[in-house]
């Protein structure tokens, strides 16, 4: 038996003591707030009328929300952005990862340049694209006109969603590229060697060997980007300077009800509905991934 040094109590309960600080923090700032906000979502609490207190209204906020055209709009907007952004990012990320995986000369340097957008602070991405989308200062509009194209009105309500998808894809395609490249580099070499010996062409190898092997990694990238895109806030908020109705993504819906209208109960209810949607999607994805 090895003699214990120091405090016997500490030694015996080290696992619990090590976890304890996190458990305390998680309960005070995690579990309790979640429960509390669930309660708030069942009340009609309005910061503009604090003297009314928090009258309990049951599911009323949730029922009103489901019929609120603004909420329906924000869910639609969010889903459109998520679908568009994830599609573009996975496609472009896959092409870039496959090209970088060829190990051409200078690929290392190109990879760093390609990664730069991912490192930009998301709120700054909003400023960058606001400059590129504002007609009076946009170099893009100038280049488009030079080659004879009429630039779209990027931040108008008709075009703002594609504009957001472009800006989000600029920032996050490198992330998908990086995950897929790591995946490609960790693929087992045997099936690829075998296909080579069997005389498969480059396309056949890609189609029948590499992509099927890479499928779980592609799915992982899709999951991560879907969850990330659902929570989009900083970039859109700055890009649209506090948001247009046509670009009111879910997080902005919640924040606006809170900050602009002081509907605390309503805002809390919307954040819960929104969280439920994300959780359902995450669980669906995990289920698909496990299969």
């Amino acid at each position: 038996m090895i003699p214990l040094r120091g405090f016997g109590f500490v030694e015996r309960h080290l696992a619990s003591l090590f976890i304890l600080p996190y458990i305390v923090i998680a309960n005070i700032f995690g579990i309790f707030p979640l429960a509390y906000s669930m309660y708030v979502s069942l009340t009609e609490y309005n910061l503009a009328r604090p003297h009314l207190g928090m009258p309990f209204v049951g599911m009323a906020n949730y029922i009103i929300l489901l019929g609120d055209p603004n909420f329906q709009n924000s869910i639609m907007v969010t889903f459109t952005i998520v679908a568009g952004a994830v599609f573009v990012q996975v496609l472009a990320g896959l092409v870039l990862a496959l090209l970088l995986n060829l190990n051409l000369k200078g690929a290392g340097f190109v990879k760093i340049l390609l990664l730069l957008p991912m490192m930009v602070t998301p709120s700054v991405t909003g400023i960058i694209w606001r400059i590129l989308y504002t007609p009076t200062v946009s170099p893009i509009n100038y280049y488009l006109q030079t080659i004879g194209l009429i630039p779209p009105r990027w931040l108008s309500s008709d075009f703002v969603i594609p504009s957001i998808i472009i800006a989000d894809s600029w920032q996050w395609t490198p992330f998908v590229m990086l995950i897929l490249l790591a995946g490609l580099q960790n693929l087992p070499p045997e099936p690829i060697e075998a296909a080579k010996i069997d005389g498969a062409s480059r396309w056949q190898m890609l189609r029948y060997v590499t992509l099927p092997l890479l499928k779980p990694i592609i799915l992982t990238a899709i999951v991560l980007r879907t969850i990330g895109a659902f929570k989009i806030f900083d970039m859109v908020f700055i890009l649209t300077r506090g948001a247009l109705p046509s670009s009111e993504v879910a997080s902005i819906f919640v924040v606006k009800r809170l900050l602009d209208f002081y509907y605390v109960g309503y805002s809390a209810a919307s954040s819960y509905l929104f969280a439920i949607i994300i959780m359902v999607i995450s669980i669906l994805y995990i289920w698909v991934l496990r299969r």
Partner: protein
């Protein structure tokens, strides 16, 4: 590979590289050009070269920007320390001290919490901070970030702790170390690169955070990204100043990312869910 295939590959890579780099080049350029040149069509060489630091001077005088950078630095640094103090032991506990089953369950609950959108915590946090008088204080944001980024840090550190062979600790224990000293003297120093990478990522996330900073701060503890929004909302069409603020916020982040380049995949895969 045939030559034409290589040419195609290079052409596609070049196009994407230009698409990736041009927006960054343009914002740096906008911050270093007189404002009236920004409004002119970029059809002269003059429009493509940096010329003046004027916008940076103006930015430092405007909208409490200087103070907000100090705030951001204080908040991000303190959050990073708090996160590490809480997460390093918890992560080590889950990796080595707890039973496999209990550790696994603990880690799974962390992962689930990561998928929750940040906005769901907005209202209760605001109310709790109001109750304790912590709205618009550094402590309020530091506590929020500590809560948010700890699950991420615990997961990231887990991998680094698991990379260290348990035999080393066992050897230390045979030599008479307690479990606690084995952790402090053997495992922690060996995992120091991983701990540093984790620290840098937590710092970046705290530095970048916008949603909570926007809702929970107004003047006293306002962070740099929020200042950027205030500037945009209050000063019309000051493109050079917006740009200089943006560049100043981003430079430390890019430097930090480049330092921990090797750990980006690991870090971002876990942290990419956060928001």
């Amino acid at each position: 590979m045939k030559t034409w295939e290589k040419v195609v590959a290079y052409v596609i890579l070049t196009i994407f590289t230009v698409l990736a780099v041009f927006p960054i080049y343009w914002i740096v350029l906008t911050s270093l050009k007189p404002l009236k040149l920004t409004f002119k069509q970029p059809d002269t060489i003059e429009a493509y070269v940096p010329q003046t630091w004027g916008a940076y001077n103006e930015m430092m005088l405007l909208g409490g920007f200087q103070k907000s950078f100090v705030n951001s630095a204080i908040i991000a640094t303190c959050s990073t320390f708090m996160v590490l103090i809480i997460s390093a032991p918890a992560s080590y506990g889950a990796a080595r001290l707890m039973s496999r089953k209990a550790g696994g369950r603990f880690l799974q609950s962390l992962l689930l919490s990561q998928a929750l959108p940040g906005v769901i915590f907005l209202i209760p946090f605001l109310m709790v901070m109001k109750f304790f008088g912590l709205v618009d204080t550094h402590i309020g944001l530091i506590l929020s970030y500590t809560t948010f980024f700890s699950p991420f840090a615990i997961w990231l550190l887990l991998g680094f702790f698991q990379d260290i062979p348990p035999e080393l600790e066992e050897a230390a224990r045979v030599d008479g170390c307690s479990k606690l000293t084995a952790f402090l003297r053997v495992t922690l120093p060996l995992a120091s690169t991983g701990v540093a990478a984790t620290a840098i990522l937590v710092f970046i996330f705290s530095w970048n955070e916008f949603l909570f900073a926007l809702v929970m701060t107004t003047t006293n503890a306002k962070t740099a990204p929020v200042s950027l929004f205030t500037l945009l909302a209050q000063h019309f069409a000051k493109w050079d100043v917006y740009a200089s603020g943006s560049v100043t916020i981003t430079i430390p982040v890019i430097i930090f990312y480049l330092i921990i380049r090797r750990y980006i995949v690991r870090g971002i895969t876990l942290g990419g869910v956060k928001g």
